[in-house]
Symmetry: C2
Subunit: 227 residues, 2 copies
DNA sequence: CCAAAAGTGTTTGCTCTACACCCATGG
DNA sequence: CCATGGGTGTAGAGCAAACACTTTTGG
């Protein structure tokens, strides 16, 4: 392998697809661009990686700079690098996706960089800059998949939650109704949540609250194509 | 987003984890390094991406330059970018994995760049340069997963194959014995292979040969964690 | 006719799915 | 006592896993 310094270098960014559940919809955080290219269009939060920081940390930093949010789940999604994806030159972006709790202390209106940030329901997305529409489409697929076959969905809820809240979150993201008794039996038998002493009161009978057991094994064994 | 040109840029490479099945073992292609850093140690084939080529094409080109191989399955794996993973400076690598048919016309001895290339069984790997051990570990996990839940395993076989050959390939990669009748029933019912007019003769009764139907739906629906 | 590998069905247990009523609280 | 959402069990169907013998060819 020749020495690295002889080669022209692409710019490298990290872009983050931030999901939350709001108003009975899965939402993505977008930032409206001020300047060309794609001025006025919406784009994913993100930015250039620093030379001395790990990739995941860069994603986390960008997320924090633009939203003030520190908590939540973050996972690398895919790296996009078609030569013409940015008209300004060769820019490779490492895409991440993040899950933010519904009660996270963030309203996109506040903050500095976040002046033009807003949540958008995934079935009413505005015109998107660069290849960000493609990235979001892939991120949605991955989140649905993750949600079905691992326990990552708890990241979208406050620390304590009722079973109905959990089920509703799943229904919103998966886009389908689930059977209440089957849902409860399955998730309780899986041993990934535990009851807390608290009850949530509201209309009707109070509901037991649960919390995620982070010592739980979160992956499920999927059915094989071959025996 | 500010203009790209103001920022220092990391070097970007593509590294490929090339798998094949040889001698009843899953093997990885490695190249012995001539020069420091890590001189004498083994490393994944790979190299710098060109400024005008898509990432996947860069991986394909590197693979072809170092092995002469064009065919096969190629999929992006993960992007590694810890700041100190290369002592020469910041180098981000986009890792790919490739599957090569057992009868592919490649012997690592031949070729120019490939002078010091060799297949290594995955449970007897030599000392590896950079973070390549970590990359290979992850690639193995991904290949096993892919193999169980999609039809990608055919890439490791010649165009026509017997059911026993297919089953043996799966057993080697998964590292466990499979039931012959269940295997055959499942894979035939899945409709992803079709019989050819050919028979393979050898010791014992001749075997029907099959080929992969590339119009087949290759993904399997996995069991959900939640109903 | 013997050795070697190919090919072929059935039974049993388990898991998934569908489905409807009683319970606890607040007003 | 009524409205509202919380909480609970069972029966039937479909899928997966275990298992052993017959068939075809070459020598």
């Amino acid at each position: 392998m020749p020495y690295t310094y002889e080669y022209p270098r692409p710019a490298v960014t990290a872009d983050i697809v931030v999901f939350t559940v709001r108003e009975h919809q899965l939402n993505v955080l977008l930032i409206q661009r001020r300047d060309p290219p794609f001025a006025g269009m919406w784009a994913l939060p993100g930015g250039f990686i620093n030379m001395d920081e790990p990739l995941e940390q860069a994603a986390q930093r960008e997320l924090e700079e633009e939203t003030g949010l520190k908590e939540g789940y973050l996972e690398q999604l895919y790296t996009y690098g078609t030569p013409d994806r940015d008209p300004r030159g060769r820019v490779i972006t490492i895409a991440y996706f993040a899950l933010i709790a519904a009660d996270a202390p963030f309203q996109p209106e506040g903050g500095s960089d976040a002046a033009r940030a807003a949540w958008h329901p995934i079935n009413h997305l505005p015109a998107l800059a660069f290849d960000h529409a493609e990235i979001i489409t892939y991120a949605i697929r991955r989140v649905r998949y993750k949600l079905e076959y691992s326990a990552v969905g708890f990241e979208l809820l406050p620390e304590e939650f009722t079973l109905t809240e959990l089920q509703t979150t799943y229904e919103i993201i998966l886009g389908e109704k689930l059977d209440k008794r089957n849902f409860r039996r399955r998730i309780l038998e899986a041993g990934i949540i535990e009851p807390t002493p608290h009850l949530r009161t509201g209309d009707g009978r109070p509901a037991r609250m649960y919390r995620y057991r982070d010592d739980a094994v979160a992956e499920v064994k999927a059915r094989r194509l071959f025996p």
